[in-house]
Protein backbone atom coordinates (compact mmCIF):
# COMPACT_ATOMS: atom_id res chain seq x y z
CA UNK A 1 0.00 0.00 0.00
CA UNK A 2 1.41 3.43 -0.94
CA UNK A 3 2.27 5.95 1.74
CA UNK A 4 2.29 9.75 1.42
CA UNK A 5 5.33 10.81 -0.58
CA UNK A 6 8.14 12.49 1.38
CA UNK A 7 8.62 14.93 -1.51
CA UNK A 8 7.07 18.15 -2.70
CA UNK A 9 5.31 17.95 -6.05
CA UNK A 10 8.27 19.69 -7.73
CA UNK A 11 10.72 17.21 -6.20
CA UNK A 12 8.54 14.25 -7.27
CA UNK A 13 8.27 15.67 -10.78
CA UNK A 14 12.04 16.16 -10.92
CA UNK A 15 12.73 12.60 -9.73
CA UNK A 16 10.26 11.29 -12.29
CA UNK A 17 11.90 13.28 -15.08
CA UNK A 18 15.49 12.26 -14.35
CA UNK A 19 14.29 8.67 -14.04
CA UNK A 20 12.57 9.05 -17.41
CA UNK A 21 15.82 10.18 -19.03
CA UNK A 22 17.81 7.41 -17.35
CA UNK A 23 15.33 4.73 -18.36
CA UNK A 24 15.40 6.00 -21.92
CA UNK A 25 19.16 5.60 -22.05
CA UNK A 26 18.82 2.08 -20.67
CA UNK A 27 16.00 1.39 -23.11
CA UNK A 28 18.36 1.99 -26.01
CA UNK A 29 20.67 -0.71 -24.67
CA UNK A 30 17.76 -3.07 -24.01
CA UNK A 31 16.68 -2.60 -27.62
CA UNK A 32 20.15 -3.64 -28.73
CA UNK A 33 20.16 -6.61 -26.33
CA UNK A 34 16.76 -7.88 -27.43
CA UNK A 35 16.84 -6.64 -31.03
CA UNK A 36 13.28 -5.32 -30.61
CA UNK A 37 11.90 -1.79 -30.26
CA UNK A 38 11.34 -0.98 -26.59
CA UNK A 39 8.19 0.75 -25.40
CA UNK A 40 8.80 2.95 -22.37
CA UNK A 41 6.37 3.76 -19.61
CA UNK A 42 6.18 6.82 -17.41
CA UNK A 43 8.15 6.25 -14.19
CA UNK A 44 5.97 6.04 -11.08
CA UNK A 45 7.31 7.36 -7.77
CA UNK A 46 5.88 5.77 -4.64
CA UNK A 47 6.56 5.68 -0.92
CA UNK A 48 5.93 2.25 0.50
CA UNK A 49 6.97 -0.18 3.21
CA UNK A 50 9.54 -2.89 2.64
CA UNK A 51 6.89 -5.50 3.51
CA UNK A 52 4.80 -4.21 0.61
CA UNK A 53 7.56 -4.51 -2.02
CA UNK A 54 5.59 -7.02 -4.05
CA UNK A 55 2.73 -4.51 -4.39
CA UNK A 56 5.18 -2.07 -6.00
CA UNK A 57 5.79 -4.52 -8.84
CA UNK A 58 2.52 -3.53 -10.44
CA UNK A 59 3.15 -4.89 -13.91
CA UNK A 60 4.08 -8.33 -12.57
CA UNK A 61 0.82 -8.93 -10.74
CA UNK A 62 -0.80 -12.17 -11.85
CA UNK A 63 -0.44 -15.91 -11.57
CA UNK A 64 2.94 -16.36 -13.23
CA UNK A 65 6.15 -17.11 -11.41
CA UNK A 66 8.65 -14.28 -11.38
CA UNK A 67 12.42 -13.95 -11.33
CA UNK A 68 14.58 -11.02 -10.44
CA UNK A 69 18.04 -9.59 -10.00
CA UNK A 70 19.07 -6.97 -7.47
CA UNK A 71 21.84 -4.45 -8.14
CA UNK A 72 23.01 -2.67 -4.97
CA UNK A 73 24.40 0.81 -5.48
CA UNK A 74 26.01 3.66 -3.63
CA UNK A 75 25.65 7.18 -4.98
CA UNK A 76 27.48 10.32 -3.98
CA UNK A 77 28.90 12.12 -2.28
CA UNK A 78 26.24 14.77 -2.48
CA UNK A 79 27.85 18.02 -1.35
CA UNK A 80 25.69 20.59 0.33
CA UNK A 81 26.53 23.95 1.85
CA UNK A 82 28.62 24.26 4.99
CA UNK A 83 30.85 21.30 4.18
CA UNK A 84 28.00 18.84 4.60
CA UNK A 85 28.02 15.83 2.31
CA UNK A 86 26.45 12.41 2.23
CA UNK A 87 26.18 9.26 0.15
CA UNK A 88 23.01 7.39 -0.64
CA UNK A 89 22.74 3.59 -0.77
CA UNK A 90 19.94 1.71 -2.40
CA UNK A 91 19.27 -1.05 -4.83
CA UNK A 92 17.81 -1.54 -8.27
CA UNK A 93 15.60 -4.52 -8.90
CA UNK A 94 14.93 -5.98 -12.35
CA UNK A 95 12.07 -8.46 -12.37
CA UNK A 96 10.26 -10.44 -15.07
CA UNK A 97 7.56 -13.09 -15.37
CA UNK A 98 8.04 -16.57 -16.81
CA UNK A 99 6.53 -15.71 -20.16
CA UNK A 100 8.82 -12.71 -20.44
CA UNK A 101 11.77 -14.90 -19.52
CA UNK A 102 10.94 -17.38 -22.28
CA UNK A 103 10.32 -14.61 -24.78
CA UNK A 104 13.68 -13.00 -24.06
CA UNK A 105 15.48 -16.35 -24.24
CA UNK A 106 13.95 -16.91 -27.66
CA UNK A 107 15.06 -13.47 -28.83
CA UNK A 108 18.57 -14.14 -27.58
CA UNK A 109 18.64 -17.68 -29.01
CA UNK A 110 19.48 -19.28 -25.65
CA UNK A 111 17.91 -21.95 -23.46
CA UNK A 112 16.83 -21.38 -19.87
CA UNK A 113 15.81 -24.88 -18.77
CA UNK A 114 19.05 -25.15 -16.85
CA UNK A 115 19.11 -22.86 -13.78
CA UNK A 116 22.66 -21.73 -14.54
CA UNK A 117 21.65 -20.63 -18.05
CA UNK A 118 18.55 -18.92 -16.71
CA UNK A 119 20.56 -17.02 -14.10
CA UNK A 120 23.11 -15.98 -16.68
CA UNK A 121 20.45 -14.50 -18.98
CA UNK A 122 18.72 -12.77 -16.09
CA UNK A 123 21.95 -11.17 -14.89
CA UNK A 124 22.76 -10.06 -18.44
CA UNK A 125 19.32 -8.46 -18.76
CA UNK A 126 19.59 -6.70 -15.42
CA UNK A 127 23.12 -5.42 -16.04
CA UNK A 128 22.14 -4.17 -19.51
CA UNK A 129 19.51 -1.99 -17.87
CA UNK A 130 20.97 -0.97 -14.51
CA UNK A 131 24.53 -0.31 -15.70
CA UNK A 132 23.18 2.40 -17.99
CA UNK A 133 20.23 3.70 -15.95
CA UNK A 134 22.10 4.24 -12.69
CA UNK A 135 25.09 6.14 -14.16
CA UNK A 136 22.67 8.32 -16.16
CA UNK A 137 20.86 9.17 -12.92
CA UNK A 138 24.10 10.18 -11.21
CA UNK A 139 25.20 12.19 -14.23
CA UNK A 140 22.00 14.22 -14.06
CA UNK A 141 22.35 14.66 -10.29
CA UNK A 142 25.88 15.95 -10.82
CA UNK A 143 27.61 13.33 -8.65
CA UNK A 144 30.26 10.74 -9.51
CA UNK A 145 29.25 7.52 -11.24
CA UNK A 146 27.65 5.02 -8.85
CA UNK A 147 29.55 2.28 -7.08
CA UNK A 148 28.06 -0.96 -8.38
CA UNK A 149 29.01 -4.22 -6.67
CA UNK A 150 28.19 -7.42 -8.53
CA UNK A 151 24.47 -7.90 -9.11
CA UNK A 152 22.80 -10.93 -7.53
CA UNK A 153 19.85 -13.18 -8.24
CA UNK A 154 17.05 -12.15 -5.87
CA UNK A 155 14.57 -14.88 -6.75
CA UNK A 156 14.24 -17.42 -9.56
CA UNK A 157 10.94 -18.88 -10.80
CA UNK A 158 8.96 -18.15 -7.62
CA UNK A 159 5.35 -17.07 -7.06
CA UNK A 160 5.16 -13.27 -6.71
CA UNK A 161 4.04 -13.58 -3.08
CA UNK A 162 7.32 -15.36 -2.30
CA UNK A 163 9.53 -12.85 -4.14
CA UNK A 164 12.26 -11.63 -1.82
CA UNK A 165 14.96 -8.97 -1.94
CA UNK A 166 17.30 -9.71 0.99
CA UNK A 167 19.01 -6.33 0.63
CA UNK A 168 15.95 -4.52 1.98
CA UNK A 169 15.61 -6.67 5.09
CA UNK A 170 15.50 -4.33 8.04
CA UNK A 171 14.27 -1.36 5.98
CA UNK A 172 10.96 0.00 7.18
CA UNK A 173 9.90 2.66 4.71
CA UNK A 174 11.30 3.25 1.26
CA UNK A 175 10.87 5.25 -1.92
CA UNK A 176 10.50 3.33 -5.16
CA UNK A 177 10.59 4.43 -8.76
CA UNK A 178 8.93 1.85 -10.99
CA UNK A 179 9.88 1.81 -14.63
CA UNK A 180 8.38 -0.67 -17.06
CA UNK A 181 9.89 -1.83 -20.33
CA UNK A 182 7.85 -3.64 -22.94
CA UNK A 183 9.14 -5.14 -26.18
CA UNK A 184 6.90 -4.09 -29.04
CA UNK A 185 4.87 -6.96 -30.42
CA UNK A 186 6.13 -9.32 -27.74
CA UNK A 187 4.81 -10.55 -24.40
CA UNK A 188 8.05 -9.39 -22.73
CA UNK A 189 7.51 -7.01 -19.84
CA UNK A 190 10.22 -6.03 -17.41
CA UNK A 191 10.00 -3.99 -14.24
CA UNK A 192 12.91 -1.89 -13.07
CA UNK A 193 12.39 -0.79 -9.49
CA UNK A 194 14.77 1.76 -8.01
CA UNK A 195 14.59 1.36 -4.24
CA UNK A 196 15.84 3.90 -1.70
CA UNK A 197 15.48 3.57 2.08
CA UNK A 198 13.89 6.35 4.10
CA UNK A 199 17.36 7.25 5.40
CA UNK A 200 18.24 8.45 1.88
CA UNK A 201 15.28 10.81 1.52
CA UNK A 202 16.88 13.93 3.03
CA UNK A 203 19.95 13.79 0.78
CA UNK A 204 17.82 12.99 -2.26
CA UNK A 205 15.50 15.94 -1.59
CA UNK A 206 18.46 18.31 -1.38
CA UNK A 207 19.91 16.95 -4.60
CA UNK A 208 16.58 17.37 -6.38
CA UNK A 209 16.23 20.93 -5.03
CA UNK A 210 19.68 21.71 -6.43
CA UNK A 211 18.52 20.51 -9.85
CA UNK A 212 15.33 22.53 -9.63
CA UNK A 213 17.16 25.74 -8.67
Amino acid sequence: MSQPLPFTEDQRDCLQEISNVAMGAAGEHLAGFSKVFVELSIPIVRATKADDLVDALVSLQGLEAVSGVVQPFEVGPFSFGGGESSTVSGCALVAITESSFRDLAQQRGVGIDDDADAQKLLIQLADTITHVCLPMLTEQLGVPAPVLPASEIASLHVPLAEFKVPQIDGWSGMTTVEINYHLEGHPFNCDLLLILPDSATAALCKALDALLA
Binding site: D10, D13, C14, Q16, E17, N20, V21, A22, M23, G24, A25, G27, E28, A31, F37, V38, L40, S41, I42, Q140, L211, L212
Partner: protein
Protein backbone atom coordinates in the same frame (compact mmCIF):
# COMPACT_ATOMS: atom_id res chain seq x y z
CA UNK B 1 10.45 19.90 -14.81
CA UNK B 2 10.90 18.87 -18.45
CA UNK B 3 8.75 21.77 -19.66
CA UNK B 4 10.68 24.26 -17.53
CA UNK B 5 13.98 22.90 -18.79
CA UNK B 6 12.90 23.46 -22.39
CA UNK B 7 11.68 26.97 -21.62
CA UNK B 8 14.94 27.84 -19.87
CA UNK B 9 16.92 26.55 -22.87
CA UNK B 10 15.23 28.88 -25.33
CA UNK B 11 16.76 32.27 -26.21
CA UNK B 12 15.68 34.79 -23.59
CA UNK B 13 15.09 37.43 -26.25
CA UNK B 14 13.02 35.22 -28.55
CA UNK B 15 9.76 37.04 -29.24
CA UNK B 16 7.31 34.19 -28.70
CA UNK B 17 4.53 33.21 -26.30
CA UNK B 18 5.06 29.88 -24.60
CA UNK B 19 2.30 27.69 -23.25
CA UNK B 20 2.58 24.26 -21.67
CA UNK B 21 0.47 21.13 -22.06
CA UNK B 22 0.53 18.42 -19.39
CA UNK B 23 -0.10 15.62 -21.85
CA UNK B 24 -0.48 14.91 -25.54
CA UNK B 25 -4.26 15.28 -25.54
CA UNK B 26 -4.01 18.80 -24.19
CA UNK B 27 -1.28 19.59 -26.69
CA UNK B 28 -3.14 18.34 -29.75
CA UNK B 29 -6.20 20.37 -28.78
CA UNK B 30 -4.11 23.53 -28.72
CA UNK B 31 -2.69 22.67 -32.14
CA UNK B 32 -6.19 22.00 -33.51
CA UNK B 33 -7.26 25.46 -32.35
CA UNK B 34 -4.63 26.91 -34.65
CA UNK B 35 -2.82 28.66 -31.82
CA UNK B 36 0.48 26.83 -32.09
CA UNK B 37 3.25 27.52 -34.63
CA UNK B 38 5.80 25.21 -33.03
CA UNK B 39 5.64 22.26 -30.65
CA UNK B 40 8.44 20.94 -28.51
CA UNK B 41 7.14 17.41 -28.05
CA UNK B 42 8.06 14.75 -25.50
CA UNK B 43 7.38 11.14 -26.47
CA UNK B 44 6.65 9.60 -23.06
CA UNK B 45 3.52 11.34 -21.79
CA UNK B 46 0.32 10.28 -20.03
CA UNK B 47 -3.07 10.09 -21.75
CA UNK B 48 -1.59 10.50 -25.26
CA UNK B 49 2.07 9.94 -26.08
CA UNK B 50 4.20 11.86 -28.54
CA UNK B 51 3.88 9.31 -31.33
CA UNK B 52 0.10 9.56 -31.21
CA UNK B 53 0.32 13.34 -31.29
CA UNK B 54 2.54 13.22 -34.38
CA UNK B 55 0.20 10.76 -36.08
CA UNK B 56 -2.79 13.03 -35.48
CA UNK B 57 -0.93 16.12 -36.70
CA UNK B 58 -0.08 14.22 -39.87
CA UNK B 59 -3.55 12.68 -40.34
CA UNK B 60 -5.33 15.98 -39.81
CA UNK B 61 -2.75 17.99 -41.78
CA UNK B 62 -2.38 20.40 -38.89
CA UNK B 63 -0.05 23.30 -39.58
CA UNK B 64 2.68 23.29 -36.97
CA UNK B 65 6.39 22.58 -36.68
CA UNK B 66 7.31 19.76 -34.30
CA UNK B 67 10.68 19.31 -32.63
CA UNK B 68 10.78 16.15 -30.54
CA UNK B 69 12.72 16.36 -27.27
CA UNK B 70 12.87 12.96 -25.61
CA UNK B 71 14.79 10.56 -23.41
CA UNK B 72 13.75 7.73 -25.74
CA UNK B 73 17.02 7.64 -27.64
CA UNK B 74 16.65 4.36 -29.48
CA UNK B 75 17.72 4.95 -33.09
CA UNK B 76 14.35 3.64 -34.21
CA UNK B 77 12.56 6.24 -32.07
CA UNK B 78 14.26 8.98 -34.05
CA UNK B 79 13.44 7.24 -37.36
CA UNK B 80 9.79 6.91 -36.42
CA UNK B 81 9.28 10.52 -35.42
CA UNK B 82 11.06 11.82 -38.51
CA UNK B 83 8.82 9.62 -40.70
CA UNK B 84 5.83 11.06 -38.86
CA UNK B 85 6.91 14.54 -39.87
CA UNK B 86 8.97 15.86 -36.98
CA UNK B 87 11.47 18.52 -38.01
CA UNK B 88 14.17 17.32 -35.67
CA UNK B 89 14.83 15.02 -32.70
CA UNK B 90 16.80 16.30 -29.72
CA UNK B 91 17.94 13.91 -27.00
CA UNK B 92 17.41 14.56 -23.33
CA UNK B 93 19.00 15.77 -21.13
CA UNK B 94 18.52 18.99 -23.02
CA UNK B 95 21.60 20.85 -24.13
CA UNK B 96 20.81 24.55 -24.47
CA UNK B 97 23.40 25.15 -27.21
CA UNK B 98 22.14 22.13 -29.17
CA UNK B 99 18.52 23.31 -28.98
CA UNK B 100 19.32 26.87 -29.98
CA UNK B 101 21.60 25.59 -32.75
CA UNK B 102 18.72 23.59 -34.22
CA UNK B 103 16.44 26.62 -34.10
CA UNK B 104 19.09 28.73 -35.87
CA UNK B 105 19.83 26.04 -38.47
CA UNK B 106 16.17 25.88 -39.46
CA UNK B 107 15.82 29.67 -39.51
CA UNK B 108 13.37 29.65 -36.65
CA UNK B 109 15.03 32.35 -34.58
Amino acid sequence: MARKQVARSLPSDWDVDITFAVNGAEGIEAVREGKVEMVFLDLTMPVMDGYEVLELIKQESLKTIVIVISGDIQPEARERVMKLGALEFIKKPINKEKLQGVLRDYGLL
